[in-house]
Symmetry: D2
Subunit: 139 residues, 4 copies
């Protein structure tokens, strides 16, 4: 188990009209879409290894578990700021903490944690995270 402290990476996502539900707020499942959008962008921008590179190596990431705590609701016109920090890399699993804020505010709207598992595209089984990936993620 790693005791490293990983960097907080972040990405911005503009709320779209189709994200808004009958309560005039961002629909609760959309925060998972914002999280995934941010992770894809962070893979390119921060970890310098886009999803396509994993696929080219016969690998992909699957969500293993996720917890969301809804504190405030984003609305149309808002820009979501998704911050994420790796907590631990162990075997095939990366554990992260994340925080979703509204751009221009320092209040947390949604926070939570997630586990993402590296999977072999050949046999669908968990795959130990390769050392060079661990190094790329160790920023």
């Amino acid at each position: 188990m790693s005791e490293k402290i990983y960097s907080v990476v972040e990405a911005e996502i503009k709320v779209r009209p189709d994200d808004i539900d009958m309560n005039n707020h961002v629909h609760y499942s959309k925060y998972l879409d914002y999280l995934l959008t941010a992770r894809y962008e962070q893979m390119i921008k921060d970890y310098k290894m886009p999803m396509q590179e994993f696929i080219d190596r016969g690998l992909t990431w699957f969500a293993k578990s996720v917890t969301l705590n809804f504190k405030r609701a984003l609305a149309l016109g808002d820009v979501a700021v998704v911050k994420a920090q790796i907590k631990e890399i162990h075997g095939a699993v990366v554990k992260i903490d994340f925080w979703i804020l509204k751009k221009g505010s320092d209040k947390i709207y949604v926070d939570g944690s997630g586990e993402f598992m590296l999977i072999s595209l050949t046999n669908g089984r968990p795959q130990r995270i390769p050392q060079d990936v661990i190094e790329k993620y160790s920023i």
Copy 2:
């Protein structure tokens, strides 16, 4: 060009809470999802050739064009009834008319037309609709 009159096929879709937008109605893009859901179901139920059978033969369907006329808006609790009728089968293209009603009503909520094109999965190019498919669709 076919002059055949094709059957009207139909499928039912329950409105889900995530289909509802800030106007408290089914979001306008969701009618395209209802149409696609109905076409998949009609392929199984009416044409006796599910999408998977096309894929197994190296084929898939792509939307070429679609027109939607919004007349009334479905709401939470409603069940959409999607009726569709083939208008013409020509080359690689099936043209359909469709009507979306609310279950229990005879009023049309959305109607329109669409063109779906058969595509080869090998080279991505339009593929003349095979004779046995035309026969299956000629109900």
Copy 3:
């Protein structure tokens, strides 16, 4: 804190083509939409108090937190069976456990838990769950 054992209620949701993502499986955020769809249906069918009745009384439900554990992935053609059981009713909050299975299988695809909070539409503040609602939920 209640020590009552609540009933397991269930609802079925047909997977739609727009639920499927690039991995050819139900997209991970859609399970939250399935959960919500099931809760709305269970409110009508099991608790005999549809969401509209809450709104008419100046109340609504907000998600406070949710945890999802992804074990298997549903695919196109599958019907999701969402089972839910109230674990505890306390103050303004209902805690539930849920399990999402594939119809015709006894394997759990996704499970998790959630907290839903009753909110006053007038002031947006948590509202103690009224006794008659507790009774309706105590099946």
Copy 4:
């Protein structure tokens, strides 16, 4: 009927992972979401009258009809450029043409046209577009 030639306005939308479907392309209904996202942004940026200002005046916009022609498919990593041009303003209806391109390409991926109708929030009926709105749109 106006004979004015209106400006082409544009907005950019980053493709999100939840926009991608089983064909590894942007799902066909998402182009309607991109169009709406662009219109909301163009209302702020180009027409200097955000949706909220309409709502504050007891008005909203409903889609009356829309036609989409799918020519190419956007993919993950792409940025959609949505261009739109008013063709005609008549009574309660604005007719637009639109073109969706991939940023960095001059090829049209999707084009089409749409009619949007101004509606009174008080009685749900079409509302003649006010002169000051016509002027704001006449750029």
